[in-house]
């Protein structure tokens, strides 16, 4: 067994449910590398997931406490859990692009607005892949998928100058980054930074689905093909304000770093409760 997986994961759950060669397994390992670098153990971190390829691969792998929410709702569930846990416990959520940026976006934005101390790692396989390959909001414009046999025609969250991370930033997030799974060191550094953030943090990691997206949109379902295609489309995030028309491709880097700029949700709430009780003459 992989030594990192052996150290942190339940043995019966590794290598997990992802298809052979899937970048999701690389991502799973990159997250463990970050956890290892921070010296976190099973009692330091609660690991939540949603559904889809990312949920299935990562749920109940962590030796510590673990949970999975319904599609798109785990941000609300985790916000409730955050209320009950002591501040030093980290909450990590590994989710998919559909979960975070379509069905769950209102809840994700609410968590960002409140600046809830959660770390969300979005495993971006470029659409709905566990259901067999339908386009989603991170599927590049024009892609042929099983639900866009003539190519996608509606804009996604990264087409025509849109960037979903800009929305999450405006909603109040503390730390945001985007990388491809092939940028191993950068992913590890950003997940470390995210886990060290007192507030809402999110790292989007593009890995692409070779089995469905590769075969349907690129005409080549091999791991090599999707990796080569991702590499060729990877561009660094430009410093300064976002350009009017974003270049096509995966704009990678730290997108937003405002760690410590806004008070965290549960701290604010506990202060509020303490103030009410002080006014009423109650102690602690």
């Amino acid at each position: 067994m992989d030594p990192l997986a052996g150290k942190y994961l339940r043995p019966e759950k590794w290598p997990g449910t992802a298809c052979p060669g899937c970048g999701l397994r690389l991502l799973h390992r990159e997250v463990l590398t970050a956890i290892d670098a921070l010296g976190l153990g099973p009692s330091d971190l609660v690991w939540g997931t949603a559904i889809g390829c990312t949920g299935r691969q990562t749920y109940a792998t962590w030796r510590g406490d673990t949970f999975a929410g319904t599609h798109g709702r785990v941000y609300a569930l985790a916000t409730g859990l955050r209320l009950a846990l002591p501040r030093e416990k980290r909450i990590l959520l590994t989710v998919g692009d559909g979960d975070a940026f379509t069905i769950g976006l209102p809840h994700l934005l609410a968590a960002a607005r409140r600046n809830v101390d959660l770390t969300v790692v979005v495993g971006d396989n470029l659409g709905y892949q566990s259901t067999g390959g339908q386009y989603g909001v991170t599927t590049p414009a024009g892609s042929r998928t099983d639900s866009s046999p003539y190519g996608t025609w509606e804009p996604g969250w990264s087409d025509g100058g849109l960037d979903v991370l800009g929305i999450v930033r405006e909603a109040g997030a503390s730390f945001l980054a985007r990388h491809t799974v092939l940028q191993r060191d950068a992913v590890v550094e950003s997940v470390k930074a995210a886990l060290g953030t007192r507030g809402f943090s999110l790292v989007q990691v593009v890995y692409g689905c070779h089995v469905h997206y590769g075969a349907q949109a690129l005409g080549d379902g091999t791991v090599g093909a999707i990796q080569g295609w991702i590499r060729a489309r990877t561009v660094p995030l430009e410093p300064g304000p976002a350009p009017e028309v974003a270049p096509a491709g995966f704009r990678t880097g730290v997108f937003h770093d405002a760690r410590g700029a806004r008070p965290e949700f549960t701290e604010r709430l506990r202060d509020h409760v303490a103030a009410v009780r002080a006014r009423a003459g109650r102690t602690s």
């Binding site: 330091d44 929410g69 955050r82 416990k89 209102p106």
Partner: protein, 390 residues
């Protein structure tokens, strides 16, 4: 004992505090908004947390998460929000999360009439989660004081059965003003028959016993012991599985932990059944107060009429319909819901009839007239469009 004159909404709030509720997440909706407002005021005073959620789906998920972290939690809504609870309700059922849900029924469908009472969610409260494979606990108060008592009871049952418990109220109970006695000491609570079950925590790593056992502490995360729960069919360890055998075990537990201990849940009130009445009026919630008066008046006239008020609605009390009679279901809807369950549960030779009304209560005289018609062996059809034979 604190004696006040207040609403059902206030009673539910104070009862939740007494029961140890320390998290409320909700979304404003008539006629349950006051519960949220009261919780926003009361929870900080006792060191609890009020969170206004982005929608009702999030509200119940927030409560689930807080409960998963070890805090007792409650949410409250009305029909349009209740339907949005479907997703987190199913999650709580399957993950065996204690949580309390209040539904102040108003007039539907959809937004309907906001400030009038309805009873359109009898079946929704039973089948709110998709996919079947579970039993659930639903309690229905008919007064402000009873709303208090049943809220405390809902929290106790939620803890003991590791499950969401629904308080199915109606707008007249939640908005109505009545005298309310609030116990302030454990002796006063005991004298009122109120049981407060403290939260116990099961840190894992096993998730559930494949049995119908109750009083099993719920999984509480944060101890690092490998606790696990999810929306998927679980193994006993809490891992996701696609195995049908595991699904059988889990579904059996969800169904039978409740059904086999239903004697701890069942509650009803009966009027005049000792005299073997020919006609029995059946109801729950606010309409049962009119029914009680109608039964008393009919009996004073010497009519062979009795009454049943259901307090626990689910699991449905089939055993109450074992006697042969003409049952008249009095409900705040026009389509007939409770009557369908009566028709299913009643003994051979019985008949089930329906008196519908919505947004307002029936009158005592109308119920007496309907009872007399049934005693004469008449059907209720076409005696006015509000009196339909079912």
């Amino acid at each position: 004992m604190r004696r006040v004159f207040d609403t059902g909404n206030a009673a539910i709030t104070e009862a939740a505090i007494v029961a140890g509720c320390r998290v409320f997440a909700g979304y404003p909706i008539t006629p349950a908004t006051e519960i949220a407002e009261n919780m926003a005021r009361r929870l900080p005073e006792v060191g609890g947390y009020y969170v206004q959620a982005e929608d009702e789906c999030a509200a119940l998920h927030l409560c689930n998460g807080a409960s998963l972290g070890g805090l007792k939690a409650m949410t409250a809504t009305s029909g349009p929000g209740f339907i949005l609870f479907a997703d987190p309700f199913g999650w709580a059922v399957s993950a065996e999360i204690p949580v309390v849900i209040v539904d102040a029924q108003r007039v539907g469908p959809v937004s309907g009439i906001t400030g009038a009472p309805g009873q359109g969610e009898l079946y929704l409260s039973r089948y709110l989660a998709h996919g079947g494979n579970y039993e659930t606990i639903v309690l229905a108060p008919s007064s402000v004081q009873e709303a208090f008592r049943l809220t405390v009871r809902a929290f106790a049952l939620a803890e003991r059965f590791r499950t969401p418990v629904t308080l199915l109220a109606d707008q007249m109970v939640t908005d109505g003003w009545e005298a309310l006695a609030i116990p302030e000491t454990s002796d006063e609570r005991a004298a009122m028959g109120l049981e407060v079950v403290p939260r116990r925590a099961h840190p894992g790593p096993d998730f559930y016993p494949a049995s119908d056992a109750i009083d099993v502490p719920p999984v509480v995360l944060g101890r690092g012991a490998g606790g696990a729960c999810s929306d998927w069919t679980p193994t006993e360890r809490g891992h996701d599985t696609e195995e049908v055998e595991a699904q059988h075990k889990h579904a059996h537990r969800l169904i039978h932990k409740i059904r086999r201990h239903r004697h701890l849940i069942d509650e009803h009130e009966a009027w005049g059944l000792e005299d073997d009445p020919e006609v029995i009026l059946v109801s729950y919630g606010t309409p049962s107060r009119v029914v009680k008066s109608a039964v008393a008046r009919a009996r004073a006239e010497g009519l062979r009429v009795g009454g049943l008020r259901l307090v626990s609605l689910w699991p449905f009390p089939d055993h109450l319909f074992a006697r042969r009679a003409r049952y008249l279901s009095v409900e705040l809807n026009w389509d007939g819901q409770l009557v369908r369950e009566i028709q299913r549960a009643m003994s051979p030779g019985s008949s089930a009839h329906f008196f519908g009304r919505c947004g307002e209560l029936p009158r005592v005289a109308e119920l007496c007239e309907a009872s007399r018609a049934l005693l004469r062996g008449e059907r209720l059809a076409r005696r006015g469009w509000e009196l339909e034979a079912y």
